[in-house]
């Protein structure tokens, strides 16, 4: 589904990604973790072309993201993305947030889009909030709406870029619950997150990044059991201490 091959990226002379190679199969859940500044977010943003890269290739469902001929908007419409800061459109109601891209990008009718959007809103437990504006919702609620908004596009896979990092602790679980449910339904997911509980529960594979490179790419059991690299071992020891 997602193939990342030898991707390297520089900001000027500073290299942020070094020869990253991995893949995500259909219905697979892959968690990407690592210290801040390790390039996790940059890597996931290469998948839908939000971040350009200078070397290597990313192929999503058979389409090369970096190819000049690729219709990026069309490809992105099929790849759902959830951001750290939710990024709901603050000047639109929750309903409009859910339907705008369905109408303007997929060409659905307003009724069809609303039907779909409100069903998904109900699924994330927020049906009663449809007429409100994003600013009137809590962070956890906003993030659940953001997930519903991405799902409304019927994506072939979902990218999560630290979806719980900007949330108050008591709101993290309501978002993770939605993500766990999604994983159980067989959604292909690539998640940048530090939630190791989530990784243990649903991830098939865990990727550990450090200084722009993929240091460890292992099955979950292997990663949590005995990571091969010293760097991953010390990272895990630090975040699993408490």
């Amino acid at each position: 589904m997602i193939e990342i091959k030898n991707v390297s990226k520089w900001y000027g002379s500073f290299q942020v990604l070094t020869d990253c190679t991995t893949q995500v199969s259909k219905s697979e859940v892959v968690v990407v973790c690592g210290p801040s500044g390790s390039g996790k977010s940059t890597l996931i943003k290469c998948v839908n072309g939000l971040e350009p890269f200078q070397k290597g290739s990313v192929v999503v469902d058979g389409i090369a993201v970096e190819a000049p001929k690729t219709n990026l908007p069309k490809l992105r419409a099929r790849v759902g993305m959830v951001f750290q800061n939710f990024e709901l459109f603050p000047h639109m109601t929750i309903t409009d947030n859910l339907v705008i891209a369905q109408i303007k990008v997929l060409g659905r009718s307003r009724e069809e889009a609303e039907d779909k959007g409100l069903k998904l809103l109900d699924r994330v437990g927020l049906k009663s909030q449809a007429a409100k504006f994003p600013g009137q919702l809590s962070g956890g609620q906003q993030q659940r709406v953001a997930i519903a908004r991405a799902l409304a596009m019927d994506p072939i896979c979902m990218l999560f870029d630290e979806p719980t990092s900007a949330l108050d602790p008591e709101m993290i679980n309501e978002v993770l619950d939605v993500m766990v449910q999604l994983a159980h339904e067989g959604m292909t997911m690539m998640c940048v997150t530090h939630e190791m509980g989530f990784a243990r529960k649903v991830a098939h594979r865990v990727i550990f990044m450090d200084r722009g490179a993929i240091v460890e790419d292992a099955a979950k059991e292997e990663f949590f059991g005995q990571p091969r690299s010293e760097r991953a071992q010390s990272f895990l020891a630090k975040i699993l201490q408490h």
């Binding site: 939000l50 993305m81 951001f83 800061n85 990024e87 459109f89 603050p90 990008v105 600013g135 009137q136």
Partner: protein, 226 residues
């Protein structure tokens, strides 16, 4: 000139009202046209295409470096010549009409700077979210960035419009009859400058003060809840 005689106002009210109407028409035309052109200029300035950046930067810098009254005069003189070159016919467009054009073009430079900071006030994550939904550049601007930029900048846009409303009085330089121009013409004839200019000042004050109160109100009522 011993007593004040405000009958000069009542006797000429219709003429003054006509001038005020013209002032408002130029203001509204230049506001709408200026914001539209200004938004395009702002997008050009912020684009990654160097010639477009240069064009927009040049446009803004030129019009912001020249006194408005000089631009009014220049366009009044040059515009008919340009039209004649393009159409091959003599086209005397007149002072009143040339002002619509001049103010729209001139104000666009100022509105574009306001829209530019408005666009930059929209967080980058919003642009990324727009693209991630499958929007094109144009759709991202239209549905995500510009509505927020416009809302954020509405008070400043209106403040600029108040300045524009006052600046329309400069058309007296080319003899067009705006509100101030009408008052000026009556004064030349009836020689009642104190009554006339006082009244004009009061009317300007009432309109501008009301608008600036509106700006204050908007500032507290339309802010996007974040």
């Amino acid at each position: 000139m011993s007593d004040f005689d405000f009958s000069v106002i009542t006797a000429n009210w219709a003429f003054l009202a006509q001038g005020l109407r013209y002032t408002l028409q130029v203001t509204i035309t230049a506001m709408i046209g200026g914001i539209l052109i200004g938004t395009v200029l702002a997008l050009m300035r912020l684009s990654s295409i160097t010639p477009l950046q240069w064009f927009a930067a040049g446009y803004v810098n030129i019009f912001r470096s020249v006194p408005l009254v000089q631009v009014i005069l220049a366009f009044y003189l040059i515009l008919p010549l340009v039209l004649q070159m393009v159409t091959g016919k003599q086209m005397p467009i007149g002072a009143a009409n040339s002002a619509y054009f001049t103010f729209t073009i001139f104000e666009a430079a100022y509105y574009s700077e306001i829209m530019r900071s408005g666009i930059q006030s929209v967080p980058r994550g919003q642009v990324a979210a727009g693209y991630a939904m499958g929007f094109t550049y144009g759709q991202t601007m239209r549905f995500v960035v510009l509505p927020q930029a416009f809302r954020n900048m509405l008070p400043v846009l209106l403040t600029q419009t108040i300045i524009l409303f006052q600046d329309v009085s400069l058309v007296y330089a080319i003899g067009a009859t705006d509100f101030f121009g009408a008052a000026d013409k009556i004064t030349q004839r009836d020689l009642r400058p104190v009554e006339m200019y006082t009244t004009v000042a009061v009317v300007y004050f009432i309109i501008c003060f009301t608008l600036s109160r509106l700006v204050k109100w908007l500032q507290s009522h339309i802010a996007i809840i974040r």
